[in-house]
Structure formats: structure tokens, C-alpha cells
């Protein structure tokens, strides 16, 4: 129906169809879905798609959300240059 595929993770260009299909096939956790599709692993660190990945898992596998944050956060939580992280400019 749609001429535009529904992209969920913009950084890695992962579509909703791909996420739903993967979750259906593997009946997995949000973390496994992330690792299998790379959704949420792009340069923004999943700032937009994180909650949607959680929702796909809830809807497809029926896993209830827990008090633990499903997808971990890793520093740096903002895109920063290597220079900012302590590198030296050539």
C-alpha cells in the first residue's frame, strides 16, 4: 500500500517490516532484536527508535515491559568527535 517503506531506525535504515519479521521468527528480547537488525545501533545511539524497538517486542512476543531498561545505554550518549574524547588533531 505504502510507496515509502516505514523506516523505524533512520541511522541504520531498518524498516518496521524487518523488525516485526525478525521478532516473529526469533521470539526474542529487545536486545536480541537490536543485535540481529542493527536497529538502535547507529550513530544517534537509538535516541528515536529505542521505544519503538521495545514496542515491537511487546506487541509481537507479548513480553511485558519490566522495571529494568530493556536496551542498555552506553557512553558517549551523544555523538562526539574523537577529539572531544581525548584524541589529538593531526
Amino acid at each position: 500500500m505504502e510507496s515509502h517503506p516505514l523506516i523505524i531506525c533512520r541511522c541504520e535504515e531498518v524498516t518496521l517490516a524487518e523488525l516485526v519479521e525478525t521478532a516473529q521468527t526469533y521470539q526474542c528480547t529487545a536486545r536480541e532484536l537490536k543485535l540481529r537488525t542493527r536497529a538502535g545501533m547507529g550513530c544517534c545511539g537509538g535516541r528515536t527508535c529505542r521505544t519503538m524497538i521495545d514496542q515491537v517486542i511487546q506487541q509481537v512476543t507479548g513480553q511485558a515491559p519490566s522495571h529494568t531498561v530493556p536496551l542498555g545505554y552506553q557512553p558517549p550518549i551523544r555523538p562526539v568527535s574523537f577529539h572531544t574524547l581525548g584524541g589529538h588533531r593531526a
Binding site: M1, H4, M52, Q55, S66, V69, I77, R78, T84
Partner: protein
């Protein structure tokens, strides 16, 4: 040498800075945006008593007060990492490392996205982005746009766009997908709007009648079924129309819409494309808690507060030593609640620093949060009090009261 670093110069962060500086603490506030105020900067609405809430003025007032007390406010600074040290925190920022004994995270909320096919086209933005462009940067987002997602926030911001002379063609629902939750279901959306019917005098139309008898509510209930929806300030709100796709080749040119049944499924033969040069997507807010997670703070999942929130007690202390939180990171509520929470955090941190000689102001401030919450004009969720109680119970397992 500073006593306290506050991350976030919004209503909570600035209020905390003021409260703690008044007790003699040396305070620095950092914020990612280029000017202080946070979400206050975009806010402009009429209160039920007829007064206008102008967030820009509030932000200026808080900023001036903080500065007059010696608070250092650093804008355009992003925090990307936190680590605990022996006597406090090492905070990694785009302006270098900062070492500080006590830390307050007041990072607020981020907008939740509701994806729509074509949402990656230029000209599509979140409703909050449109608010900032309009009210802060004074940039016209477009000539004529469509708002996808009907909730209290998107209705208020559509009104702000209209006040600024930007035409909102209509407000419609997002398509019902795996990730849209109930935002694409007309009945669920109507229910959530009915909850804020008490706002009718200020946000909707000027009528003073009681909840169920209000003509506005009757109008709303009936409007679900006729096709044209209802209008507020001449903005059509169509709860039985969904966005199927945002269309355009290199930028937004329009939105393909269809009428939907009460459960959100499109009705065949009702499709049409309406022209638009911008689209705002409104998916609500969720607490921006990434730094609390990095700091090792335990969380609670509380839908009425907007998702995962860091555990904290009434004094805004988290189970992590020397770490405090305030504002929308603890749950989505109005700016006034955030300000009241900020004051609590500021006093609580002054106490931890041994600078609070009299504890009465702290217990008064804790009371004040509850009073402000009770009188809040915008109650984002009906179960906020229950959600807060759950967080309190879970926190009590970590921190003795």
C-alpha cells in the same frame, strides 16, 4: 570549586540552582541548548483564570534570579558520560571534564516518535520542534501543515502555531501500526481528550460548565461519528481520519489520508491526498533518563509517568550516592511541577552539603510539589499520583526514609 553541577537549565534545573544557591552553595548549570529555559522557552498558553503563561518570561525570570545569586550557567554544553569518583562525580562534557561532589540530573523529556510512512522526508518534524522554531527561533515552519497525532500537547502547540500565523490545515491520527500504541485508535484518543475536558475554558473553548454537561464534551463525543470532526480555534480536529502516508519527492508535498472505523482501520474508497508543505508528528513525551542509566541508577517502569523513570524519594534523592533528579526525568508533568521539584532538589542538596540549618523549608517544598500537582492545569495522565506512589515504594527498598 563548585558544590553542585546541574544538568539541564529548564524549569527544574534553574529552580534547583536558585534554591541551593540561596543556601550558599556554589552552583553551575549546563545545558545543551544555546539559551537557558528548556521547554519553558516554547510555552505560551492561556490559564483557566484568563492569565497567559508565557514560558519565555518565566525562563528569563528564573535565569536572572539564578545569575543574581551567583549561579554559573553554561549553555551549548553536552554531557556525554558520567563516572563516580571517590568524592563525587566526574562529568564528561563537550567543554571538558568537570569534577563535582553533588550532581542533579534535570534533563527533562524527549518526544516519542510515532512513525508514519514518508516521515523521513524534509519538512516532517516533531510537534516540539515546530514549537521551538515558532516561539523561540521565530522561524516559519511552513505555510500550511498537517498535525499527525492528537493529544493535549499537540492541541496546545497547534494553537501556538496558529497564533503565530501558521495555518494548521487539520489534526488527524497516525496510522495504526505495531508501534503506534493507541494513538491511532479514535476511541482511545477521544477518551484521553475527555480526561482533559476540564481544560475546556483555557485550552479548548471558553465555556465554564461542569465536566459531563459541557457542550464541548458533547460536541466532542458526537463529533467522533460525523465525518468533519470538530474545530477548536478553527483548527479541524478529525479523530476519524488517519494519515496513511506523507507524500513528496524531495520534501513534504502532502498527506494521503483516509477515513477510519472506530478501531482505527481505514475505510475503503475514502482515500485522498491533501496538500501540505510541513507535517508535525506528535507522539507525546517520555523521560530523558539516559544519564541516570549511565550513572547506575535503578529504574521503575511507570506508564502514567511516561515510561522508565529513575528511582527517587520525595527529597529527589536517588539510590545512587550524591545523585539527585528533578523535573520531567521523574515523570511527565507540567513546568510548574518541575519548578516545585527543582526547589525540593536544591534544598535537599543543600542539606546533604550541610548548608541547610533549618529543615522546615525542605518539608514545605515537598508539600508544595503535591499542592502544585493537584492544581495543575495540564494533567498529562490520570494516574500520576498512583505512579508517583509506586516509585516511592520501590525507592524505599533502597533508601531508608
Amino acid at each position: 570549586m563548585i558544590d553542585l553541577l546541574i544538568i539541564g537549565a529548564g524549569p527544574a534545573g534553574l529552580s534547583a540552582a536558585i534554591a541551593s544557591a540561596r543556601q550558599g552553595l556554589a552552583v553551575r548549570v549546563v545545558d545543551e541548548f544555546y539559551r537557558p529555559g528548556g521547554r519553558l522557552l516554547g510555552q505560551l498558553h492561556e490559564e483557566p483564570d484568563g492569565m497567559w503563561w508565557n514560558g519565555l518570561d518565566e525562563a528569563a525570570r528564573l535565569t536572572e534570579t539564578a545569575k543574581s545569586l551567583g549561579v554559573e550557567i553554561c549553555c551549548g554544553v553536552s554531557v556525554f558520560h558520567l563516572t563516580q569518583s571517590q568524592n563525587g562525580w566526574v562529568v564528561s562534557t563537550t567543554q571538558g571534564e568537570m569534577t563535582v561532589p553533588l550532581l542533579l540530573i534535570a534533563t527533562g523529556a524527549s518526544e516519542a516518535a510515532v512513525p508514519v510512512p514518508g516521515w523521513t522526508l524534509p519538512g516532517v518534524m516533531s510537534i516540539g520542534a515546530a514549537q521551538v522554531m515558532t516561539n523561540v527561533q521565530r522561524v516559519r515552519v511552513g505555510q500550511r501543515g498537517v498535525v499527525i497525532g492528537v493529544n493535549i500537547l499537540s492541541v496546545a502547540i497547534s494553537r501556538e502555531l496558529q497564533l503565530a500565523g501558521v495555518t494548521v490545515d487539520r489534526m488527524i491520527l497516525p496510522p495504526s501500526t505495531t508501534v503506534s500504541g493507541t494513538a491511532g485508535q479514535p476511541e482511545a484518543v477521544m477518551q484521553s481528550l475527555l480526561r482533559v475536558a476540564h481544560l475546556a475554558p483555557s485550552l479548548m473553548i471558553r465555556i465554564g460548565s461542569k465536566l459531563m454537561r459541557s457542550p464541548w464534551m458533547q460536541k466532542l463525543a458526537i463529533a467522533l461519528y460525523p465525518s468533519k470532526g470538530f474545530s477548536m480555534w478553527d483548527i479541524p480536529i478529525q479523530l476519524r481520519t488517519t494519515a496513511l502516508e506523507i507524500v513528496g519527492t524531495s520534501q513534504v508535498e502532502g498527506v494521503r489520508i483516509a477515513r477510519v472505523a472506530a478501531d482505527g482501520s481505514p475505510i475503503d474508497g475514502t482515500e485522498q491526498v491533501i496538500p501540505a508543505d510541513f507535517v508535525c508528528i506528535a507522539g507525546g513525551l517520555s523521560p530523558l533518563a539516559e544519564l541516570a542509566a549511565i550513572a547506575g541508577c535503578p529504574f521503575a517502569y511507570v506508564p502514567s509517568l511516561g515510561g522508565h523513570v529513575p528511582l527517587h524519594n520525595e527529597s529527589m534523592r536517588t539510590p545512587v550516592p550524591r545523585l539527585y533528579v528533578a523535573g520531567n526525568i521523574t515523570g511527565i508533568e507540567s513546568a510548574k511541577v518541575a519548578m516545585a521539584q527543582g526547589t525540593v532538589a536544591g534544598l535537599s542538596i543543600a542539606k546533604a552539603r550541610g548548608k541547610l540549618t533549618n529543615e522546615q523549608p525542605l518539608s514545605d517544598a515537598i508539600q508544595q510539589v503535591k499542592i502544585v500537582r493537584q492544581h495543575a492545569t495540564i494533567q498529562f495522565h490520570p494516574d500520576i499520583v498512583a505512579g508517583r506512589a509506586l516509585v516511592g515504594q520501590m525507592t524505599a527498598e533502597w533508601i531508608a526514609p
